[in-house]
Every structure is written in structure tokens, then in C-alpha cells.
């Protein structure tokens, strides 16, 4: 049975972006979380944590919502295509990637709709680390979950610009 104890110490990194490093062989891309000062933080396998999760925002699609439009404004529904990346160390979480993925699926909030999962470590790795030679040890698992968020964006008149930037 999968319990919370096997997730104890898991690290949730937030939304990551790819950055590039120039090496003799060319470019190496890897995912990091970048803060508002431009400082980046590595989000991949780390012995300090048994399991880590981060996300990518792939893009957004704006769909006219005729039935939700009132007055002179055209309402839209936003579909944000997302990717969740989960890595873990089998000897610490003591369970399988498949069971972790099932737990994540069950834990997604209602606004998040899962689309597909990929357990191909090589494929997921190569997408995350373009130009980098595969280095995952056998003890590590890696999978991705594609999902989307569907929501109604705030109307322009209802946005407080003073809330836009974090001081």
C-alpha cells in the first residue's frame, strides 16, 4: 500500500525552465527553477531528497467562450498545457514509478486534467537534458505526466495592476 510515509521528504520545486550551458561538444540544456533575481536552482536528482516533482508550462490556448460572454467583452477559456516531471530514488521511496504516478493522478486538483504519462526514462531524460548524455543510475526512476489546466481568466477590468508584480 502506498502511504504518505514513502513521500516523506519529497521535494516540490515549482515551475522549471530549461537553461543552456556551452560545453566543448556543443550545448547542454537542463531544467532549473529561476527566481526573480535570476538565480537558478537545480531541480533534478539529488541525494538530499527521495523524490522530486517539478512542472513545465508548455503553452496556453485561448478558446472563445461564447456562452460565458456578457456585455461587450468576449470571454475566453484558457487551456494551459503542462508537463509534470517526477524523479525518485527507488531505494528510498521503496515503491514503483507506476504507483507514484497513480498517486499523483489521484491527487491532482479538479482544475488539472491528466492527458498521458510516459515512463520511458530515456525519452523523458532526453527531453529534459537536450545534448546531455544519459546519466540516470538504475536506482532512479523518471516519468512525466502531461496534463492541462482549464480555467477562466480574470476580466481586464477586474485585474488590479498593483498585484501584478511581487515587491
Amino acid at each position: 500500500m502506498l502511504t504518505f510515509s514513502c513521500l516523506a521528504g519529497a521535494k516540490f520545486f515549482g515551475v522549471a525552465e530549461p537553461i543552456v550551458r556551452l560545453v566543448d561538444e556543443g550545448e547542454e540544456w537542463f531544467p532549473v527553477v529561476i527566481d526573480n533575481d535570476g538565480e537558478d536552482r537545480y531541480v533534478f536528482i539529488d541525494d538530499d531528497y527521495p523524490l522530486g516533482i517539478y512542472h513545465h508550462i508548455i503553452g496556453k490556448t485561448y478558446i472563445p467562450a461564447v456562452k460565458n460572454s456578457y456585455g461587450d467583452s468576449q470571454a475566453f477559456t484558457v487551456q494551459a498545457d503542462m508537463k509534470l516531471i517526477c524523479w525518485g530514488l527507488r531505494n528510498q521511496v521503496r515503491t514503483t514509478a507506476d504507483r507514484i504516478e497513480s498517486f499523483i493522478y489521484a491527487s491532482l486538483p479538479e482544475v488539472a486534467v491528466p492527458v498521458r504519462s510516459s515512463f520511458d526514462r530515456s525519452l523523458v531524460f532526453s527531453n529534459e537534458f537536450r545534448g546531455v548524455q544519459f546519466f540516470l543510475p538504475e536506482v532512479a526512476f523518471l516519468f512525466s505526466v502531461d496534463y492541462y489546466l482549464k480555467y477562466t481568466p480574470a476580466r481586464r477590468a477586474c485585474i488590479d495592476l498593483s498585484d501584478l508584480c511581487v515587491e
Binding site: 456562452k67 456578457y70 461587450d72 467583452s73 482549464k150
Partner: protein, 186 residues
Amino acid sequence: MAIVYKNCDEIVIPQHVCDDCVGGESGGIRSIALIQKDFNLTNITTAAAWLAGIESGDIIIVPSTRGTFDGGSAVTAAGYGDLAQVTTGYNFTLTARDPSYKQNQTFWNLIKGRKDLKVAYRTKSLIHISDVPASITPTNPVEEGLETVVDWQVTFTWTSANLPEPYDATALLIEVFSCFEVEAEP
């Protein structure tokens, strides 16, 4: 003795106006207003006239709606002579949906009992007003589906011999059809 053929008074029909440069009016019932039937909206295209009605409580604005107007279904009567029937008027139906839901239950519940309110509706740049009071029937159905919106679906019906007349809604007048509160005098 001369023979005189009797005729009705001649109806002067203005010329049809054509203008290749005028685009069509965009549809959608974007706003509605309820106007007390005795309120004298003298200068219908000025914001000041509407604001006076709002301040006196004779005009109620519902600023943001969507809906339809059926354009009227003909009321006919049997004709005489060579005419099989004549059009005597229209039954009009306007539907408007108001998204301000929870806080307006009392408003719509009480408005339905009023029999003295004309209805005005705004398309993109024109305002039309019923020339007689309308019967008002608000409903609040809930549709299937997690992404549907619960709103007030209000049906206005009236019968008149005349088609609603469109008036220009200037930019200033369109501003009157905005979300605001009328504060009581201190």
C-alpha cells in the same frame, strides 16, 4: 354628377435609405435597461437624460448581459377585399441573461411583479426601447456540465403595433450602461 372614389388618408412613406459605406450593426443583447413607463426620456441619445432617470430611480441598468431578441412574431387579422390577412402588430420576446447571480435574487423576484416597466436593450452601438411595458419573467435554471454558468435568464414579452426604434448609443451613453452603484444622498 361626378363620381368620387373614397380612399383612406394617404400614408407618407419616407424613402428607403441606402449607404454602401455603412457596416451592419453587431448583435447580441449586451445591456438592458428597465424604464418606468411614465418617465419622460426626452433626449434619448444623451447620457444626461439617462443619468437623470437613474438618479430618480426611474431607470434601472443591467450593464452586462447576453441574449436574443426575436424581432417579433406577427399578429394578424382576417383581411377584407383582396387581402387575405393584415398585420395588426407583433408579439415581441427578448431574452437576457444576467451573470450577477447570487446577490440579485431579491431584485429579479420583485421585478417580475412590476407591470410598469418598458425594456431597453443595447446592441453594439444602438439602443432600442419597447414602446409599452413588458411582462418580465426571470428564471434561474441550472444546466448540466461542470463548465456551465448559472445566471438569471429573463424573458421580456410585449405586444405592440410598432417595431422597436433604434437610437444611436454614443460613447458617453454606452458608459451609462456600466457597472456602478447609485448612492443615496447623505
